[in-house]
Symmetry: C2
Subunit: 413 residues, 2 copies
Amino acid sequence: MYQELFSERARRIRKSAIRELLKLTERPDIISFAGGLPDPETFPRKQLAKIADEEILIHYAKSLQYGTTEGSKTVRSRFAQFITQQEGIEIDPQSELIVTTASQQGLDLIAKTFIDPGDIVICGLPTYLGAIQAFHMFQARLIGIPVLDDGWDFDVLEATLKKLLSTKPRPRIKLFYVIPDWQNPAGICWSKEKRERLVEIAEALGILIVEDIPYRQLTEGKPIPMMKAFDSDNETVIVLFTFSKILAAGLRVGYIYGPREIIKKLVIMKQSTDLCTSPLTQRLVARCITDPEFKKHLFLLRETYRIKREAMLFILQETLGGIERVSWTKPEGGLFLMVTLPENVDTEKMLERAIEYKVAYVPGQSFFVNNKGQNTLRLCWSLPTVDEIEIGIRRLAEVIKQEISISCPQAPK
Amino acid sequence: MYQELFSERARRIRKSAIRELLKLTERPDIISFAGGLPDPETFPRKQLAKIADEEILIHYAKSLQYGTTEGSKTVRSRFAQFITQQEGIEIDPQSELIVTTASQQGLDLIAKTFIDPGDIVICGLPTYLGAIQAFHMFQARLIGIPVLDDGWDFDVLEATLKKLLSTKPRPRIKLFYVIPDWQNPAGICWSKEKRERLVEIAEALGILIVEDIPYRQLTEGKPIPMMKAFDSDNETVIVLFTFSKILAAGLRVGYIYGPREIIKKLVIMKQSTDLCTSPLTQRLVARCITDPEFKKHLFLLRETYRIKREAMLFILQETLGGIERVSWTKPEGGLFLMVTLPENVDTEKMLERAIEYKVAYVPGQSFFVNNKGQNTLRLCWSLPTVDEIEIGIRRLAEVIKQEISISCPQAPK
């Protein structure tokens, strides 16, 4: 009955069928590789409890009070210190950084600040669903570039840009949205060459890069330089970061850093969005990550996820290795991998059977802005135990084999 | 350099000059009646620290993990219980309530969900600046109705509606935005009759009411029924609430309750905005407010603010009582009152002199969507001590008297 009162953007947005389906997978007897939930056993709860006690009892006049929209000076300084420590990049926390209510708010603010209806955002095929939703909310036109093993397919990118730039009137291409490190959902990591190249293209065309790096710290060994590292004038790349995957998702704290003029505008945009991010959770994060213990925490976290990831890859190989037209990505970090099945398999339909077999995943289609990918699925290894991973992948392999035998009967030889 | 990349809404939004000016008032030697910050000594820190400890150490798998977008079931049930306790209204927490990152996010979600460029929102003259900003962000057309001692001026409201409804093409009037209890900034409380009447008008015209009630619990004696109480079919009134003023602003927790179909849509809209409000701060609030101790806390809180308010009103009367064309509202609750000075006084200009005298307030103009109100100012009594209130109001009275003698030289008798 409120259709006439809803805004255009609200009328367009539909409840995601897939999220509804995934609610079924929360049954305790189902082993779920669906949600991207971090392992709660990795949350440094003792340390957080100790800090929370001090923050609430002693620093209550700051931690429980309204804070400034951009985040407190101390917190921003500590975040900058963390960035320098991790990346060797020096930033001015007071003008180049804004604290956000985790990365999803970062995406909302970016979309709010840059997108008018019809503006173009170029993203990966596949890409993060929450980003697709944030950009769609502001009626962006999303154009996808196929993701190869080392980043986007630059042949397709260049052809796409050429076509767009020769269109009259020239469409407004605003943003490249990328997750260069162990991308959600495909678990792909961009090569150094492609990172550098995208920055060059963006600079040349006056397009901004949104570099979303939630999984960057979940890399084995030394990570590849960020795209930001190639943005020497700090004019082209906006970095989104969240502490959800490396500290605790429930604190809802992240940051954006980037060009000063953009940060200034984002602060104004955030003001009417939520006044400020909780100073309590900001301060919990800031103190936790600059504690010397945090390095050990990060090390253990990487180990936990490495072991789970290797278990998943091992059982996948054991159960599905060698089956024709079945393949999967082999990430060396992050939380996700993507399985591709023969083209006529529909993973959304297959999910019903999977639920019967008490295993769950996310059908890939919702990650593809071109509506393809119906033969793909995303697996996340962070939440289940190693034993559950073994049992769950065996169940899934069974489901996949059955589905293939039904959907793709062998052609007579 | 990013002007061409910014969205229309981002290009229109300007940094608020007044906020810049108010930064000056944060000097420790200035007694500030400007910000609407609650008194941190009222935050129940011992209770919160105890709950935080349990939540982080024991319930970490919930409190530090991602939560559902609408808020956890337990939290929503506790919020509903609180509403029933306070208002005697029974609500279904699972379909009629969504947890928000405090009320400012409530306003952002409402604006996002209902406002297309040019849509009309009718609000008070004056009204809450954060609401003006949230609606302006989505390019609403704001129309103000003068606020009298008992609510809006209904003669003006009716004339305005008549004019709007006879305009061709008929403009889209989407929302009435009201703060019926001790309104920010004027400290006005709506009469029962006007509350009931506005609901009738809204129902008849198919307009929604956004009833924002951050100060409702800060009322002496029994509060007047909410507008929501007259919305018997739960179809017309959307209630915004925050725990910022009665528990702790830094937790950033509030809720919206209202018609089911609207709540359902708001959940979808919130998903791309921030995925979820911090489960940790949600749970801290939910447990704190349903603790038997909380009644005592509310009682002490009201007493604290009553004493400060009475001190302010007393010194205002002593120093400015009887001065021609100087008046102020006399609230019996909330955190704010509004002073009106002779028409040719400009309170924004006067603020410079006030800062010299080491006292601060908010010039009223930014609360008026018709750009009037330059001879008004808002005072907030929650943060300073009673002694500071006395000294500060005496300083302010001095400033006002001087300003009047300069701006309004006595006409010869």
